[in-house]
Amino acid sequence: MYDDLLLTVLLTSVPLILAATGELVVERSGVLNLGVEGMMLMGAVAGFGVTSLSASPYFGMLGGATAGAVTAALFGFFVLGLATNQVATGLALTIFGTGLSGLIGAPLVGQAIDGLPAFIVPVLSDIPVVGVLFSLDVLAYVSIGLVASTSFVLFRTRLGLVIRAVGDNATSAHALGYSVLKVRFYAVIFGGMMAGLSGAYLPLVLTPHWAEGMTAGRGWIALALVVFASWQPWRVVGGAVLFGGVTIMQLAGQARGWSVSPQFLSMLPYLATIIVLVAMSRGGRAERGAPAQLGRIFLPPR
């Protein structure tokens, strides 16, 4: 019983970890991409479609990441190439992605696929309680690896220093000879790949179907998680598991016949997001660890 519950919590948190880690890098480079929800949906429909065609969930993962990256490139072109307002462009990306994924996915509704199999580590998975950690799918393990490498790259390598410099002080980074727009563009693409992968996780692991708008606000919660994590990759994991737990409470509540209406339990993740945002938003921008130039347009001087 508790093993199942823990497993569900972990599985629910994986897409949040993936999307939030990607967005974290994007924001560290100074760009706010509010289109996570749209990119996730594109990743979800591509992940489902490719898996259904190729009968291989691994190709599905690849398809999801590619779709996310392509949609992110569109965002990057507008925000970096044409210096459009980042908030509005992100909204446009979400509206566009929601529509296009629904259009592409219309013939896929009602189909089912074989998702990613669980990869059960022998011996370790037999340990009580902790064993659950070793009976997840490949993408869940990969997501932790991605958090680790993101953290390493951001804080221990020259590339990470450049990304953070571009996000904190684009003018100085430019003066030092770094191409601000190029760094930001690659960061946006990385964020798109992660969001696409995260979207693909939904049909590949959580529910083996495609449904319009199946992300149900997870992209927006991932955005909030980045704030919650105060732009530190490892804190994303903690936050995501916490959110997974809150989401699962509704299932647990129903199973035990709590006398609370299911609608109120379903509200919990959204309300928790608001509470977390309030808790994290005390104090100034710098105190919270936000990149100094998040959301600001940078035009390279000639």
């Binding site: 044409l82 446009a92 566009f96 609608q263």
Partner: protein, 370 residues
Amino acid sequence: MIRLSPRQNVSPNHLLLVPVLSVLLSICLGGMIFAALGYNALEALYQFFVAPLLRPDQIGNLFVKACPLIIIGTGLVFCYRANIWNIGAEGQLIFGALGAGWIALYLPESWHFMMLPLMILGGMIGGALLAAVPAFLKTRFQTNEILVSLMLTYVAGLVIDWLVRGPWRDPLSFGFPLTPYYPDAALIGKLSLPVIGKLGQLHWGILIAVGISALGWFILSLTLAGFRVRVSGDAPRAARFAGFSPTIVTFSVLLVSGALAGLAGMVEVSANIGQLQPHISFGYGFTAIIVAFLARLNPAAVILAALIVALSELGGDSAQIAMGIPKVVTGVFKGILLFMLLAGETITRYELSLDMRMISRKMSKGDADV
């Protein structure tokens, strides 16, 4: 390779040209997407943008669809002008419908002569209450209003779901999640035009919408309050030096846009549905974001912008019926339209030039950079 240099002064021609070009470009791109998906692009575009205009009753329905978009869009213009990003109008619409619905369902009969005014008040208070949450959190804790207003939209959707399945459900609805029908006093009647008579589902609400848009234009362009909103968005530092309180501006634009979204919810239910059900809006709160931008954040232009966007909604229906194109394609069109409008904004503000020196340098190095 694209170089942007800020323009000294913006040509007034651009201000008109950008929305027109954006719509045309979006139609072209939409056609290309239809073709890519294997539909006859010309026929699809015809079904989308021409067919709905050929029947008089459909023209009435066009105004019906535009009605909530005008009301919400006007409110959002205030927010976006002040650089406050309320994207939760959908939730505020639902709360407005609940505020008005509570009055419609429980107002004693002897008060029925006051029904509609009270419902309008209830709708506006409901929407404003939900918008007050991001306003309070933003001014008190600097919490991001984008995420809070959006999260509350999900919450509002669950609240109405709970009410119509639980406390407010009609005991005679055979278990369907519906409230009782509103009494006649709570309904907004169909509008009967001189000469033409009734036009589709056209109702009195459209007059409210046009009035709101005109009032919005007046307040934003001609009053001190409107000036404060505009300065706070365009030049926050100047606004602070002038002594305009950011707290008051943030609160007022969020409350105004919330109240208007709530009013739209009241009108939508009273004029078109007549009772509460789990889903009362076709995403009007989100679509109105595009309307606000298409109007270039000018309340006077909101009516025309809402009609254009409403046409794409109706067109989505007719294309679905005639050609089996999924209705979600409207979302694709709306997304493209917003992208085009934002790109157009760039063209009015900056001079675009291809950097030939950079291109030739790249060609000689054979290096493909962005």
